[in-house]
Amino acid sequence: MPFFTEAPAEAVATTGSSLDQLLVIALLALPLAGFGLTALVGRRLGARAWIIAVPAIIVVWLAALYLIYQTLIVGAFGDAGMHFRLYEWIPAGDFHVDVNFAVDALTAVMLIVVTTVGMLVHVYSIGYMAHDPGRWRFFAYLNFFMFSMLLLVLADNFLLLFVAWELVGLSSYLLIGFWYRRRSAALAAKKAFIVNRVGDLGFGLGIMAIWTTVGSLDFGEVFTRLPGQLESGAIQPWMMIGICLLLFAGAMGKSAQFPLHVWLPDAMEGPTPVSALIHAATMVNAGVYLVARANPLFAQAPEALFIVAAVGIFTCILAASIALTQKDIKRVLAYSTLSQLGYMFAALGVGAFVPAIFHLVTHGFFKGLLFLGSGSVIHAVHDEQDMDRMGGLWRRIGITHATMLVGSLAIVGIPPLAGFFSKDEILGESFKLGFVWVWAIGIVVALMTAFYMFRLMGKTFYGPSNVDPHTEPRIHESPRSMTVPLILLAVPSALIGLALGLPPENGTIHHWLEPVFRPLDEALHHGAADYQILGIDGFLLGASVAVAAVGMIVAWRLFGFFRLGPRPALVSSVTGRLRGPYVFSLRKWYFDELNDLLFVRIGGVVARGLWWFDVHVIDGAVNGVASLTQGTGRGLRLVQTGRVQNYALGIAAGLLVVAVGYLIVAR
C-alpha cells in the first residue's frame, strides 16, 4: 500500500477570481463546442464550414491574452499561479483524481504560443482549405485539437495531463489521416498514434509509479511532498531516476525524439496548416512542457537529466543530418523541427530549463511561420512539394518569400531575430554548465541548420525555375487570409527574442519562469554567473553567429541567392564523392526499413505463429478430447441415446458419485 495520508478534497486550495476561472473553462469549452457543432452541422455549411470554428478560437485567443496578462504582467496569482477544481473525476478508494486546472507562468507562456499560433493557423486554413470538400471535418478536428492542447497546458495533475496527452495524439491521428483515401496518409496516421503509444506506455507507468511512491498525482502535492519523502528515505534515488525516465519516455514519443522520432516526418501527410500547428508549433512541444512541468522531479534525478541531454543532442544532429538531403520541402522542415526539439531537450538535460522554454516559444513562431510559408508555396505551385520542381519563386510570391526569409534567418540564428537569442542561450549555458560535448555538437548542428535552410530557400525561391511548364503561368500569391497570418507570424519571429531575451540569460522570460523552476535551481545549485559579453559569452556568441554565417554562405553558393546562380555541377560532384553518407542521409538512416523488418515482418510472423498455435494446439487439444470421447462413445454405442440432455445427465450423475465418494473418503 502507498505511504501517505490523504488530505480531504475540500482542502484543495482554490485561487483566482470567478472571472478568471470562467475564462479558463471557456478556453476549453469553446473549442469543444466548436468541434461538436461543426461535426454535427458543418457539412451543411458548405464553403463556410469555418464560421463556427474560427470565431471560437479568436475568442479563445482573447480570453487567453487576458489570462496571460493577469499571470505574467499583473502577477495577480502570485508565484504559485491560480488553481481550481472542477469536479472529482475518479473516486476509487484512497486513489482519487480531480479534474483541476492551473494557470501559472509556465502555462501562461505555453498559452502565448498555443493560442496565437492556433488562432493564426485557423485563419490561414480558411483560405488553404477553401477548395477541399472535407473542410468541415478539418475545422472540427482543428477545434478538437485546440481543446486537447489547451487541456494539456491547463491540467493540474498528471493523469489529466495524460488524458490531454492522448487526446492531442488522437487529433493528430485524425488530421494526419485527413485525406484518408490516400493510403500513405492512413498509414502515417496510424504510425503516429502507435509510436506515440510506445512512449505513452512509459508515461503511464511513470504516473503509476508516482502514485505508489508519492501517494498523489496532483502537481502541487507531488512537488511539495517529494523532498520530505526523499529525506526520510521513503523514496529512494533510484526510484526518482526510474520515474523521470518513464516520464521522459512519454516526452520522447510526443516530441519525436530518437528512437521514437520516426512518426513525425510521415505526419507531413496531413494538410500543411496541421503540420504548422500540431507538428511544429504546439503538440510536439508537449514533451518539453512535461519535463519542464515535472522539473522538481527531474531536479532530484541528475542521471535522468543526463540521458535527456544525450537523447536530445543526438536527435538534434541525427535529424539535421537527414534534413541536409531531403527533396520534399515539408520533410526538410519536419526534420528541422526534430532537430530543434533536440536542442530543447539538450537544454533541459543540461539544466537550462528557461532557455529550453524560450526556444520552444521562438521556435513555435518561426517554425509555424516556415510551415505556413511552405504551404503557401505548395499552394502557389499547385500541390507540388518536391523542391527540385520549384525555383525562382521569389518574384512571383513576394510576401511568402519575404516572410519565409525572416523565418529562415530566425531559425539560423542571425541577430537580432528570435532564434538567435534562444539558441545562443542554450549553447552558451551548455558550455558554461560543463556540457562541452553538448555545445560542440550543438555548434555543428547550427552549421547544418544554416545550410539546409538556405538550401531550401535557394531551391525554392532563388535559382532557375524548374516548375512544371503547365503550372508556371498559373503561379499566384495566396489569398489574404493566408498572407496576413504569415505577416503576423513574421513579426514575433523577428522581434520576440529582443522582447523576451534581453539582457541575455536574464531577460523577461527568465523573470517570468523563475518561480516555476526554483526547485530545480535550488537542487542543481547553479547560481547565475554574470553575463560577460567581452568574455566567454561573447566568444560563444561569436562562434555561433560565425558558423551560421558560414552555413548560409555555403548554401547560397551551391543553391543560389538572387543573382548569384546555383552550381548544380558542384553539388553533384560533392554528393558523388560522398556517396555513402549522402545515401545514408537521403534514406533517413534506414530507420523505416529497420522498423518495417522488426515490427511488421518479424512481428507478423510471431502473430501468425501464435494464431497457428491457438487453432492447432490449444483448440486442437479441445477437439482432440472431443474426438477421443466420440471414439470411446462409438465403442459404447449401446448406452448412447444421441441426446445431449442424456449426456449431461450422465456426466452429472458421474460427478455426483465422485463427490459423494470424496466426502466418504474425507471422513
Binding site: I90, P91, V163, L201, A607, L610, A626, A659, R667
Partner: protein
C-alpha cells in the same frame, strides 16, 4: 413513490418470462406484434432495473432488496435474492444490452422470429437471475438457464458452421458448470456435517463466513474456477469464444460479449473469493499469470484475424484478462477497475459487434480484406465505428480507459513488472484496432463494396437508436466513472476484507 414493499428483484428477473409467455400465444404470422412485444418487455424490464437505483444506498454494507422464501426446506435450499452495488451495475448493464439486442434483431432475424424472441427473453431471465441469486443452488439453476437459450440462438439462427460452434460452447460450458455443481454440493455437505443442520447450507450469506477446510477450499475453488474461467474465457479455455461469435447472430454476439462473459468475472468476485479465501490466495499467482498471458496473447492473435468478428472476439480475450487480473491482485483499485472494465467492455464490445452487424447486414460478409473505403459512402457509420474503436483501445475520456488504468495501477502496486507486461497491450491494442479500422474504413472504396452499389447505405435510424445510447454511456463512464465507482466501493471493500487484503509475498 415508495417501492420498498414491492419484490422488485423478482419483478426484474421474471418480467421477461411473462413477456416470453405472452409471445408464445401470439400467432406466428403476426411478426410485428411479436417484435414489439419482445421489445416492450425488455424495455419494461429495463425500467424496473432503473427503479432499483433511487432506493439503493451505496453506503450500506451487505445486500439490499433481499427477498427470501423456502424452496426445498429439507436441504435448506431457498429462493433468496439480493443485490449489492456490483450486482446492481451488472443487472442494469444486462437490461440495457437486452433491449438494444432485441431491437437490433428486428431486421436480421427473418426465420422463426417467435422462437428467437422467446429464447432471448428467457436468456435475460437467466442472466439477471445469476446476478441476483444469493442461494448457491438457485445460482446454479440460473447459471444453466442461460446456457439453453444461447445454445438455441447460435444453433438455429447462426451461420454456416453453427452446429459445431454451439455444441462446443454448450459442452465446454457444461463441463465447467457441472464441476461447479459438485463443488456446491460438497460445500453444502461439509456445512451440514459441521453444523448438523441443513439450514443455510446453500445460503451464500451463511456459507461465506463458514471457513471451509483447506483441502475442500482448494478443490472447490478449482471447480468454481474452471466454470468461471471457461465463461470469462481465460486463456487457455478461450477457443470456444471465436467460434461462437463467428456463428452467432449479431444480437447473440452482443449478449455473449456484453453479459455472458461477465458472469464469469462476477462469479469470481461474488462466490470464489468470499467462500474460499484461503484457496483464492493459493490459486491467485496462477490466475495472474494466465491473465497476463491472455492480455498479450489475445491482442497479438487479434492482430492477424481475417474476420471482423474473430478480431473482436480475440480482443475480448485480451480485455477480459484485465478483469481477472484486477480481481486476483486483491487490491481495491484493481478490483474496482475490474468491475468498471466489465461494464465498459460490455458496452463497448457490444457496440463493436453491433457495428460489425451493420456491415454484415449490407454485405453478408465480414472479411476484412474485402472491405475498404467505407468512410466516403457511409460517413456516419465510419464515425460511430471509429468512436467505439477508440473506446476499445482505451482512449482517455471514454469508458474503457479508467477501468483499464485502475487495473494497471493496482497491478503496479502489486508488481511493477506485471504492470509493465500488461501495459504492452496499449501498443498492441492500438495496433490491431487501428489497422483493422484503416483497412475497413480508410482508403479507396474496395471493388467488393463498389459491387454493392446503392445497397451500401449509411446507418438506418433504427441502428442509430441501438448505437446512440451506447455512445452516451461510453462518454458518461469516461468522464464520470464515479457513477459506477461510487456504487461498487463498499462491496469491493467487503469482498477484500473477507479475502484478506493485498496478495502477500508480492513478486518484485
Amino acid at each position: 413513490m415508495d417501492l420498498t414493499g414491492l419484490p422488485l428483484l423478482t419483478g426484474v428477473i421474471f418480467t421477461p418470462l411473462i413477456g416470453a409467455l405472452l409471445i408464445a400465444f401470439v400467432p406466428r404470422e403476426r411478426e410485428a406484434l411479436t417484435r414489439w412485444l419482445a421489445l416492450g418487455t425488455a424495455l419494461v424490464t429495463f425500467a424496473i432495473s432503473l427503479l432499483l437505483l433511487p432506493g439503493f444506498d451505496p453506503a450500506a454494507t451487505g445486500f439490499q432488496y433481499v427477498e427470501t422464501a423456502d424452496w426445498i426446506p429439507a436441504f435448506g435450499i431457498q429462493y433468496k435474492l439480493g443485490l449489492d452495488g456490483i450486482s446492481l451495475v451488472l443487472v442494469v448493464l444486462t437490461t440495457t444490452l437486452s433491449w438494444i439486442s432485441i431491437l437490433a434483431s428486428f431486421g436480421p432475424i427473418k426465420s422463426r422470429l417467435k422462437e428467437f424472441m422467446i429464447s432471448f427473453l428467457i436468456l435475460e431471465v437467466g442472466m439477471i437471475g445469476v446476478f441476483l441469486a444469493l442461494d448457491l443452488f438457485l445460482f446454479y439453476i440460473f447459471w444453466e438457464v442461460v446456457l439453453v437459450p444461447m445454445y438455441l440462438i447460435i444453433g438455429i439462427w447462426g451461420g454456416a458452421n453453427r452446429i459445431y460452434a454451439t455444441l462446443k460452447f454448450v459442452l465446454y460450458t457444461l463441463i465447467g458448470s457441472l464441476l461447479m455443481l459438485v463443488a456446491i454440493l460438497a460445500a453444502a455437505f461439509s456445512f451440514q456435517a459441521a453444523t448438523g443442520s441443513w439450514a443455510g447450507a446453500f445460503d451464500f450469506e451463511q456459507l461465506r463466513g463458514f471457513g471451509f477446510d483447506p483441502t475442500l477450499q482448494f478443490l472447490a475453488f478449482g471447480a468454481f474456477f474452471l466454470a468461471f474461467a471457461i465463461k470469462v474465457p481465460m486463456f487457455p479455455f478461450h477457443t470456444w469464444l471465436p467460434d461462437a461469435h463467428v456463428e452467432a447472430p449479431t444480437a447473440g454476439s452482443v449478449i455473449l460479449a456484453g453479459v455472458l462473459l461477465k458472469l464469469g468475472g462476477y462469479g469470481f468476485i461474488r462466490f470464489c473469493l468470499p467462500l474460499f479465501p484461503q484457496a483464492a490466495h493459493e490459486w491467485a499467482p496462477l490466475i495472474i499469470v494466465l491473465s497476463l498471458i491472455a492480455i498479450i496473447y489475445g491482442a497479438i492473435v487479434a492482430m492477424v484475424q481475417p474476420d471482423l468478428k474473430k478480431l473482436v472476439a480475440y480482443s475480448s480475450v485480451s480485455h477480459m484478462g484485465f478483469v481477472t487480473l484486477g480481481i486476483f491482485i486483491f487490491q481495491p483499485q484493481g478490483m474496482q477497475g475490474a468491475i468498471l472494465q466489465m461494464v465498459n467492455h460490455g458496452i463497448i464490445t457490444g457496440a463493436l459487434f453491433l457495428c460489425v452487424g451493420v456491415i454484415y447486414e449490407r454485405t453478408h460478409d465480414r472479411t476484412i480484406a474485402k472491405m475498404g473505403g467505407l468512410a466516403a459512402p457511409t460517413p456516419v457509420y465510419a464515425a460511430i465505428f471509429g468512436f467505439f474503436m477508440l473506446a476499445s483501445l482505451g482512449l482517455p475520456g471514454l469508458g474503457g480507459f479508467v477501468g483499464e488504468f485502475l487495473v494497471f495501477l493496482g497491478t503496479f502496486d502489486y508488481s511493477p513488472i506485471a504492470a509493465a507486461i500488461a501495459s504492452i497491450v496499449v501498443i498492441l491494442g492500438a495496433a490491431y484496432l487501428m489497422w483493422m479500422y484503416q483497412r475497413v474504413v480508410f482508403g479507396e472504396l474496395s471493388d467488393f463494396l463498389k459491387g454493392l452499389g446503392h445497397h451500401l447505405t449509411d446507418v438506418t435510424p433504427q441502428e442509430l437508436v441501438t448505437l446512440t445510447p451506447l455512445i452516451a454511456l461510453t462518454l458518461a463512464f469516461g468522464v464520470a466513472p464515479g457513477l459506477i465507482l461510487d456504487l461498487i466501493q463498499m462491496p469491493v471493500g467487503e469482498v477484500l476484507a473477507r479475502v484478506g487484503g493485498p496478495l502477500t509475498g508480492a513478486a518484485p
